[in-house]
């Protein structure tokens, strides 16, 4: 609009806006049958922004002590105007974000976008995925209800099983030997300060790297287009792809609003450290596959404690995930197919174990 023009000119004289925005104007997105997968990264970013906004709103009323946490969440959902909406959107968006983060990671994996020169982007991305899970784990405890209390107890117990550093790790996480009000304070600190700080830095790095290297294309297509440059199809990021992404984000808003209004997040009952654990404690769905795997491992394999072995295996899996760009064998055939196959198996495993966790036993 013309009213903004003088403002733009003023800023441009001082900040050279045009120079700053030039790369954005030039940015393109490859168009092929798998282009839709490119929306996932932006979607994850959008949901993160939703989390930050709703999180800041919740911070206005939430109290992070064992005595008041539950009541403050109850207060938000009952007494504060539209507090129920802010809280439910925060909870639903958290779950959706974990889902899109995983989906984004897997799509990048199968599109092999981690290939040189984008290894650093992959690394920062996987770290961001771990951070997302940490956000989920720390945030889950904050309402201080029974389910969260015991899920945290079990989760930190598992962390305590790591060999050598397990006990100090457990004490660090819990702020003591047991899950108490100190744990809540600590998790609150992680969730609203430490993790967002680290995430912001990683996110900025990740986004800058993406802009720097541009959007990658699957290897076969890359070869095709190298041969026949005329076959290459792209669209400008701004405004074409951006408008499409805006549509996706609006759809996400519609989904979040509907979920919050139709299936509001439960409050549960206030945590009581002295009550016995209720039947059917389980972690959130995104930890379910690990939880079920640990339960299935026999208690002793050779001389090693089964649970420790499981934890080490998952730790090793995480390392493998980080190392994917370096594992990828450049031979276009067997090595590449093996890696793709392994990825498919991992998805199948996670899906199966997650569903299995919810089956009545």
């Amino acid at each position: 609009m013309s009213t903004l023009a003088p403002v733009r000119r003023w800023l441009d004289e001082r900040l050279s806006l045009d120079d700053l925005t030039a790369p954005l104007r030039k940015k393109t997105v490859p168009v092929h049958r798998l282009t839709y997968w490119y929306f996932l990264g932006g979607m994850t970013l959008f949901l993160f922004v939703v989390q930050v906004c709703t999180g800041m709103l919740l911070l206005l009323y939430y109290r992070p002590t064992a005595n008041e946490a539950f009541e403050s969440v109850q207060y938000i959902t009952t007494k504060v105007q539209f507090g129920w909406l802010v809280r439910s959107i925060h909870s639903w968006s958290a779950n959706l974000m974990v889902f899109t983060a995983f989906a984004h990671m897997f799509s990048v994996f199968f599109l092999k976008a981690y290939r040189k020169p984008r290894e650093l982007t992959w690394l920062t991305g996987v770290l961001l995925l771990f951070l997302t899970l940490a956000f989920g784990f720390s945030g889950y405890l904050l309402p201080w209800n029974t389910l969260a209390f015991f899920a945290t107890k079990v989760g930190t117990e598992v962390a305590g099983q790591v060999p050598l550093i397990g006990k100090p790790l457990l004490v660090f996480l819990r702020g003591g030997e047991d899950v108490t009000g100190a744990t809540l304070t600590r998790f609150f600190g992680f969730h609203v300060a430490v993790l967002p700080g680290i995430a912001t830095m990683l996110l900025l790095t990740h986004l800058l790297l993406v802009q720097f290297f541009g959007i990658s294309v699957p290897p076969k297509l890359e070869d095709e287009w190298a041969e026949n440059p005329s076959k290459r199809r792209e669209m400008k990021f701004f405004p074409n792809f951006a408008l499409r992404e805006l549509m996706a984000w609006y759809l996400a808003l519609a989904a979040l609003g509907s979920l919050a209004a139709l299936w509001p997040w439960e409050l549960g009952t206030k945590a009581d450290a002295f009550a016995s654990a209720p039947a059917g404690i389980r972690p959130e769905w995104y930890f379910m596959f690990m939880f079920e795997t640990l339960k299935l491992i026999p208690s002793k394999i050779l001389f090693i404690d089964g649970e420790v072995l499981g934890i080490l295996a998952f730790g090793f899996g995480g390392l493998l995930l980080l190392a994917v760009p370096f594992i990828e064998i450049r031979t276009r055939r067997l090595g590449s197919w093996l890696l793709t196959g392994a990825g498919a198996l991992v998805i199948a495993y996670i899906a199966t174990m997650t569903i299995y966790g919810y089956l009545p036993k």
Partner: protein, 166 residues
Amino acid sequence: MRTTDIGDVQPLHDSLVQIDGVNPKRRRVLKGILGAGIVASLGSFLYPVLRYLVPPPVADLGGDTVVAGRVGELQPNSSKIFRFGSRPGLLIRTANDEYRALSATCTHLGCTVQYKPDQHRIWCACHNGMFDLAGRNISGPPPRPLEVFDVHVQGDELVVSRKREA
């Protein structure tokens, strides 16, 4: 290379992208829908946020502390029921001018107990359970004592709080 373009894209100074060569009437209708839609949707997002920012009239102190009454509200050797979290509480001003606060939920079958001034005891009307002023179950069916709360006077308010957890 084929680039998908939106017509002749003006430089980024103009925030409104111009479309040339499209039916102007259709363009106007489209802009109208889009504009209205965006304003309406942004409004539907902002309205709850703005309402949310305004603190509600009842500033709850949180479920573990509650103002149970005011000084002078109770006569000596009388009591009142107050709401504590999700359960009833009993506030007693004893004959010696002490304040006691306990859970008013009888530990037998959950009826609400009452203070009996003539006996200086707490009584459950349902099945004749008796508690002393320290909450101990002294007669009748209740199997456990009543939970005792802390009371202290803050200004002219009587503030009841749960015994602090360690």
